[in-house]
Subunit: 317 residues, 2 copies
DNA sequence: TGATTTAGGTCAGGATCAGTCCTAGATATC
DNA sequence: GATATCTAGGACTGATCCTGACCTAAATCA
């Protein structure tokens, strides 16, 4: 019953687009009798989608929240908004949903029509990135790699190590792991014949080779644990230790957890450890907290702060 | 044929969750014969969803991107990621999709099961907002008001004017308009018997009254135009004019358009006009551009910058 | 070449569907 | 309290569709 199925989907579309619909209006839209609408509503209910109904003048049908997600029927604009929203959500805006956001994005991008995909890409490049917010990850890379992980497809990409040495890699991707503002790819490096973690912001032009591979057993309990260990062995270029002149409780909420660790020293001071590859961003991050502070290390940060202070002083004076 | 419809949806779910499925595996999952799977695939194709197929060993079915969006079938985690992503997308992360993001969010929230709604709300409060990024809009308010606009339902809320005077309003909401980092509600104020625009970050506890109203004709061409005019009459608390010591082309991309207007003065300087209610945020915004600058006005900004400079100087020693 | 996998025609029995007609409740308005 | 406007759903009928079984064709990979 192809017609019934598509009519049910259309009915769901209508119910999702407006709060309330009188039965005969639905009948008119779908070009069936009112009796059929009543039967369709009954079908939706038996499928688990809770459709409320109100008798009397001004009554009608409305789709309520149930216990499971009904299929989402989106128009073009909404699909674009969701794609863009998910792309920003992968940038660690909220702790803990980045990985799921990539999964949802992958599902959406798989079926996103070409013309919408182009529009999303155009909007993506218009994203307002703070100039000193550090390197960002191309969401396109995220979805390519996530798909390769899911489908067990080998990938090739260019990689630039922290010391600047560039190389071409071919890997068997295992999983994507998010940590703070960063994304890491855990993969078996075919050239090195060993497991490696790659920072996505240092990776260029990833492309699937087309070849499938057989999954290998991980050398750790799970991917996140392995990556966490790798990171701790390869810290940031600059690691800062700062004393903040404010009580722990009063600033805890103003310091996002992925910026670093915050620990109380006494009633009026905290020690804040944070790291980054970009000195400018590191300096600003500390200035943004908005309380007095003292820099313990590194010396380069002091230099950077002097520059910033001098610039402001020049402007003021 | 209720069973056929739900099986088609289930088939779409499976096809959306993995790249490729062999026919007999689908048959096993859905507990029907292979012949029925072939017929179902045909049905999906006739409904407009492009299902590719590959013969031979290692072949199978895969869902391709078509010309229209198929219904999105999400699991719980993905629905949460989308809801959170849309909520952040409403915060002007990308220019021009905020209004659509609200519409999509509204559609999703209408059918989001209760337990997921709670999880989204919990995550929302964990959002990492920069401490000095200025007032933010509760996405909950956005969806309540958007629903009221769509359904022509009167709303009551508390409102605090710029001068601090608080009042209780009852309005007939017309539309939500996004401008820069801000949201405005355009509505007919029942108490004042006139059209008003309300800033969402100054609005507390909006709730629908339950009463419906008849749509009134707008006093302007469209809502965005009306709000734009209202805003220009009620500027920010602080309006800054700054000379940036850098060529127009070299910094144009580093200054988001909603921060203010940027115009070239000569080859090496630009004039930057920007406003905000929060001096701290205003000062930091200018410092963040990362080039030398001179402040023309206001005097309060100079004061604020002196404080910032002094704080950094103290830290540097 | 042979094994695997999709494609699709045909058939038969059973199930489902849509429209028509009708009665029963619920609810808001006059 | 009467009335108009809604949804709810039973019964009937003729037409339509669905599924599984069986079979042949074609593509593809090792």
């Amino acid at each position: 019953m192809i017609e019934t199925s598509s009519r049910l989907l259309e009915l769901l579309t209508l119910l999702q687009g407006r709060r309330e619909w009188p039965g005969n209006e639905l009948a008119g839209r779908l070009e069936v009798s009112g009796r059929t609408i009543r039967r369709d509503v009954d079908r939706l209910r038996r499928l688990g989608y809770p459709v409320d109904s109100l008798s009397g003048p001004g009554g009608g049908y409305r789709l309520r929240a149930g216990t499971a997600m009904p299929p989402l029927l989106l128009d073009d604009e909404e699909a674009i908004a969701i794609a863009v929203g998910l792309r920003t959500a992968t940038r660690a805006s909220v702790t803990g949903i980045e990985e799921t956001a990539v999964r949802a994005l992958l599902k959406l991008e798989q079926v996103l029509p070409g013309h919408l995909r182009r529009r999303v890409r155009a909007l993506g490049s218009a994203t307002v990135a703070l100039p000193i917010a550090g390197p960002t990850v191309d969401p396109q890379h995220l979805t390519v790699l996530a798909a390769a992980c899911r489908d067990l497809e080998a990938v090739r990409f260019g990689y630039r190590r922290r010391d600047g040495v560039a190389s071409r890699r071919e890997v068997e991707p295992h999983s994507l792991v998010n940590h703070g503002r960063r994304w890491y790819l855990l993969a078996w490096d075919r050239g090195r014949e060993d497991w490696r973690t790659f920072r996505l912001d240092r990776l260029t032009r990833p492309a699937v080779t087309g070849a499938r591979f057989a999954a290998r057993p991980l050398p750790a309990r799970d991917a996140a644990a392995y990556v966490a260990q790798s990171i701790s062995n390869a810290p940031n270029r600059f690691e800062a230790v700062v004393i903040l002149c404010a009580g722990y409780d009063s600033i805890r909420e103003r310091v996002p957890s992925h910026w670093g660790t915050l620990e109380p020293v006494d009633d009026r001071c905290c020690r804040f450890r944070t790291g980054d590859d970009d000195l400018g961003w590191l300096a600003l991050r500390i200035a943004m907290i908005g309380v007095d502070f003292e820099v313990d290390e590194p010396p380069e940060l002091l230099e950077q702060l002097r520059t910033l202070s001098a610039r402001i002083a020049r402007a003021v004076g």
